[in-house]
Amino acid sequence: MSWQVKSIAERTGDLLPGSPWTAVLYVLLTILAVTAFVTVAGLVLIYAERKIAAHFQCRVGPMRVGWHGVLQSIADAIKLLMKEDIVPRDADALLHILAPVLSFAGMLLVMIALPMSPTVQVSDMNIGVLYVTAVSGLGVLGILLGGWSSNNKWSLLGAMRAGAQIISYEVSATLALLVVVLFAGTLQLSGIVQSQETGWWIWRAHGCGIVAFAIFLIAGTAEINRTPFDLAEGESELTAGFHTEYSGLRFSFFFLSEFLNMFVLAAMASTLFFGGWMPLHIGHFAGFNGIMDLLPPGLWFTLKTTAMIFLIMWFRWTFPRLRVDQLMRLEWKILLPIGFVNLFVSAACVVTGFYFFAQ
C-alpha cells in the first residue's frame, strides 16, 4: 500500500496559481487550526498529567469541576487569564516580556514540522530533523532570558542550570536522531516515516534502535526539563526556577510550552522510532499488515504519541530528581560515549545492509 503524502503547505502551493484568495484563506485556517490544537492539547495534557499523577500517588486529582474534573483545565486557564500580569520593578522589562514568547515560539515552530498523518503536516521540509533540532533550541533562549531578565537569583540559577542541561543533552539527543537518519537515509520527517513501512526502526536495527531510543528518551526528558531532570525549576531548591517572577498569561505561556514540548518529544520519538503515523507492519507479511492498515494513520500517530506521553509522565512520578553533578556525569560520561559507539555500529550496519528488511 502506498501512501499519498501531501503536506498542507504543498496543497496551499497547488491552490496558489488558480485562486490565491483561497490559498490565503487556507493558510489562515491552518494557523487557526494549529493555534487551536496547541491550546486544546495543552489543556488536555495538563488535565491528564494531574489525573495520572494523582493516581500514581494514591490520590484522585481534580474531581469537582465537571465530571471527574474534566473542566478543571479550562477553569484554570480562565483563572490565569484573569490574573494580574506582573513585571518586577528591577526586571529587564523588554526581555522579561519577550522570554515566554520565545519559549512558546520555539515549541510552535516545531509543531508545524510534525507529521501527524500523511495529509496532516503543515510543512514537510526535506531537512525536517535538522529543522526540529535547530528550532527547538529557541526554547532554551526563552528560559535563559526569562531567568536573566527577572533579576532574581533563583531565576538566574534555574535558567543557568536549564541552559547547561539543555545544551548538554542536545548532543546526545542529536546523536540518537542521527542513528535513525542513517537508517532512513533522509532528513525529511515524512520520508523517515515512510522508510518504516516494513517495520519500526526500534527493532529493525539489531539493538541500535533500542539503544538510540533509550538515549533519545533520556536526553529528551532532560531537554524538556521534566523530572528526573527538573533541576531548572526544582521547587524545593529554587522556588520555581526561571519562571519564579512570572504570573498570569506570561506564566501560562511558559507552562503551556513546557507541556507542549512534552508532546513534541513524544511525537518525535514515535515518528523516529515507532513509525509515526505508519501502522504496525512486519516486513512483507501482507495479511498482518492489511489488518493493521484498517486503523487510520492519524489514529496510529495519536496512539503512539499518547503511549510515549504516558511513559514520560510515568517517569516523572516515579523517579527522584538528580543532582547537578550527577546530571552532567550521566550526559558526558555515560550517554555521550554510548551514543557515539551506537552511531558507529549503526553506520556499519547501514553500510553493510545488515538490518531487517533492507532493500
Binding site: 493516581h55 500514581f56 494514591c58 474531581m63 510515568w314 517517569f315 523517579f319 553533578d325 550527577q326 550521566l330
Partner: protein, 263 residues
C-alpha cells in the same frame, strides 16, 4: 598523628600525612560510590544494571497504584460526610471530659493555663464558691490562637481535657471561636457525688453556654481596665500628695544651706 589535631607550638606545621582512602572506581552515582557499599560490591557494570533494575521496580510500584483504584486514600469531604472516618488522635477541638451525669473533674488548678504556650486557655473561678474553696466558673479555650500542641491534655493531672475530631468549627464571627468548655460552673464530680440532696446539687451548679467564651474574656478585659483605672487614680492621688508635700516644704523655712554642706 590524627589529621584534625592542632599542631603544638614546637611542632612543625607541615601538613600531616593523611592516609589516602583506597582508590575507588567511579561508577554511576560517582561521588556517592564511596558512601554506598553495595555499589562498590557490584562493580561498575553491576551497579549500572542494579540501578536500572531499581528504576524499573520503582515504576512497577507506581503503576501498581495507578492500576488499582482501591489504593486511593483521598477522602472527598463534603460528599462523604456521613461515612467520614477521622483518626483517633486527630486534634480538631479541645473538649472537656464530662462523665455520664455531666460532671467534670476540673479543680481549677490552672496547670494547663500555665502550660499553654500562647495563652489560649483562660480560666476564671467563681467569685462565691457554693461548696468548695475554689470552684470553676468558666474554662475558656481560644480556637483562634490554639496551636494544637496537646500540652494541656498531657499536663492535666485529672484527665479532664481531650482533643476530639469535631473539626467543622467555622463561624462568621471570630468572637465565637472562644469556647467555654465546661457545661456548668461549680464543684468537681467527687464533691457533687457526696452531696445527698439533688436540690442542693442543682443549686451548686450553674449552666454555662459553650459560646460564652468571648463574654468571659471581655469581662476579664473590663476588669483589668478597671484595675488599671483605679491604679492610675491611686498613682495620681499619690503624685498630687507628693506635690502638695513639696509645696508645703518650700513654703516652710528651709534648712540653711551651710548646714547641708557640713552634713
Amino acid at each position: 598523628m590524627p589529621a584534625d589535631s592542632v599542631p603544638m607550638p614546637g611542632e612543625s606545621i607541615e601538613t600531616p600525612t593523611v592516609v589516602a582512602p583506597p582508590e575507588k572506581h567511579v561508577g554511576v552515582g560517582g561521588a556517592m560510590t564511596g558512601a554506598v557499599p553495595w555499589i562498590d560490591k557490584a562493580g561498575v557494570v553491576g551497579g549500572v544494571f542494579r540501578g536500572i533494575r531499581s528504576l524499573f521496580s520503582g515504576m512497577g510500584v507506581t503503576v501498581g497504584y495507578l492500576m488499582r483504584p482501591s489504593t486511593v486514600v483521598t477522602q472527598e469531604y463534603p460528599e462523604n460526610r456521613e461515612t467520614l472516618k477521622l483518626p483517633d488522635r486527630f486534634r480538631a477541638q479541645l473538649a472537656f471530659n464530662h462523665d455520664d451525669k455531666g460532671y467534670h473533674k476540673c479543680t481549677m488548678c490552672r496547670i494547663c493555663e500555665e502550660a499553654c504556650p500562647n495563652v489560649s486557655i483562660i480560666i476564671t473561678g467563681r467569685e462565691k464558691p457554693a461548696v468548695s474553696k475554689k470552684e470553676l466558673d468558666s474554662f475558656v479555650w481560644r480556637l483562634d490562637s490554639c496551636t494544637f500542641c496537646n500540652t494541656c491534655v498531657i499536663v492535666c493531672p485529672f484527665g479532664v481535657l481531650r482533643f476530639d475530631g469535631t473539626f467543622e468549627s467555622s463561624v462568621y464571627d471570630r468572637r465565637l471561636l472562644s469556647y467555654t468548655l465546661n457545661r456548668y460552673a461549680g464543684p468537681v464530680a467527687s464533691v457533687l457525688e457526696k452531696m445527698e440532696d439533688p436540690e442542693a446539687r442543682k443549686a451548686a451548679m450553674d449552666p454555662r453556654d459553650p459560646y460564652s467564651g468571648a463574654a468571659v474574656i471581655a469581662a476579664l478585659i473590663e476588669k483589668q481596665k478597671a484595675t488599671k483605672v483605679s491604679q492610675r487614680a491611686a498613682r495620681e492621688a499619690a503624685r498630687a500628695a507628693r506635690i502638695a508635700a513639696k509645696a508645703a516644704a518650700a513654703a516652710a523655712p528651709a534648712t540653711p544651706p551651710e548646714a547641708k554642706d557640713v552634713g
